[in-house]
C-alpha cells in the first residue's frame, strides 16, 4: 500500500542527522532489512549533502524538499532544490582507483540505489532515487 512522507528542510548540515533518522525509520517501516535501511540512509544523505554543497554552494537556509514514498516497486525518494542545476559532465565523480579526498558521493548513491535520475521541473532541480524490493532487485541482475 502506498505511504508517503514529505520533509521540507533548509540546506543546513545540522539537520542531516534528523533527516537520516527519519529516512532510516521510513525504510524500516516499509520492510527493508537493517543493512538495507542503513545503506538507503547513506544514499539519501549523500544526495542531500551534494545539494547543499553543489546546488547551493554551502549556503544555509535554502529550501530542499524530500518526499519518501513506498510504492509497488519499492521505495522512492524525490529531492527538489532551487539551486544551481547539475552539470551532467561533472556528475560522474572521480575514478575510485585515484585515491584522494572527495568525489565519492555519486559512486555511493549509484551503488546503493537501483535508479538515480536527475531532471528539471518547474520547482527547480529534481533528483529521483529508487530502491526496489529485494525480490525485484535479485530479478534484475
Amino acid at each position: 500500500m502506498n505511504l508517503s512522507l514529505k520533509l521540507e528542510l533548509p540546506s543546513d548540515p545540522e539537520l542531516l542527522r534528523v533527516i537520516r533518522s527519519a529516512v532510516k525509520e521510513f525504510a524500516a517501516v516499509t520492510g527493508f532489512s537493517e543493512d538495507d535501511c542503513r545503506s538507503i540512509t547513506v544514499a539519501v544523505d549523500e544526495a542531500l549533502t551534494n545539494i547543499i554543497r553543489h546546488a547551493y554552494q554551502n549556503r544555509h537556509g535554502e529550501p530542499i524538499d524530500l518526499v519518501c514514498r513506498r510504492c509497488d516497486e519499492g521505495l522512492e525518494f524525490i529531492l527538489t532544490d532551487r539551486g544551481q542545476p547539475v552539470d551532467p559532465a561533472k556528475l560522474h565523480g572521480r575514478p575510485l582507483a585515484d585515491v584522494r579526498p572527495g568525489g565519492l558521493g555519486m559512486h555511493i548513491i549509484q551503488k546503493i540505489m537501483d535508479q538515480v535520475e536527475y531532471g528539471q521541473v518547474p520547482e527547480g532541480n529534481r533528483l529521483r532515487l529508487m530502491k526496489y524490493w529485494k525480490i525485484r532487485q535479485e530479478g534484475k541482475s
Partner: protein
C-alpha cells in the same frame, strides 16, 4: 561528533564518537591534520569504535589524514570499525587502502 586525543607511548590515539557527516567532518579533518602535523608522533591511531555513522565527507577527512601521514612518514591506523564505517569503506573501495585493525591494542602494535 566529538573527538579527543590521548598519548600512549609514541602513539597518539584520536577517539571519535558519534556521527561523521557534512556537519562534523570538517572538525574531524582539522583534528587529524593538527595531530599529524603538530606533534611528532610516530603513529596516529584513529579509534572509530564509537562512530555509528560516516558519510563521504568523513571518508574524505580520513583519506586526507592518510595522505598527510605518508608525507610525514607517520603510521596511520584505523581501529574499531563498526558496520556503518566498514560498509562505506568497502563501497568506496578504500578498506584496503587504509591500515585497519580490529582493536586498539592491535593498532598500537601493527
Amino acid at each position: 561528533m566529538k573527538t579527543s586525543t590521548r598519548q600512549v607511548g609514541d602513539a597518539t590515539i584520536v577517539d571519535v564518537v558519534g556521527q561523521i557527516d557534512l556537519h562534523s567532518s570538517s572538525d574531524l579533518r582539522k583534528v587529524l591534520q593538527e595531530t599529524l602535523r603538530g606533534k611528532t608522533a610516530a603513529r596516529v591511531v584513529v579509534n572509530l569504535g564509537r562512530v555509528d555513522y560516516i558519510d563521504s565527507s568523513g571518508v574524505a577527512a580520513l583519506v586526507e589524514g592518510l595522505k598527510t601521514s605518508m608525507g610525514l612518514k607517520i603510521r596511520f591506523v584505523l581501529c574499531g570499525l563498526g558496520p556503518a564505517v566498514k560498509e562505506l569503506l568497502k563501497l568506496t573501495q578504500l578498506l584496503s587502502v587504509f591500515q585497519v585493525c580490529e582493536s586498539e591494542e592491535q593498532a598500537l602494535r601493527a
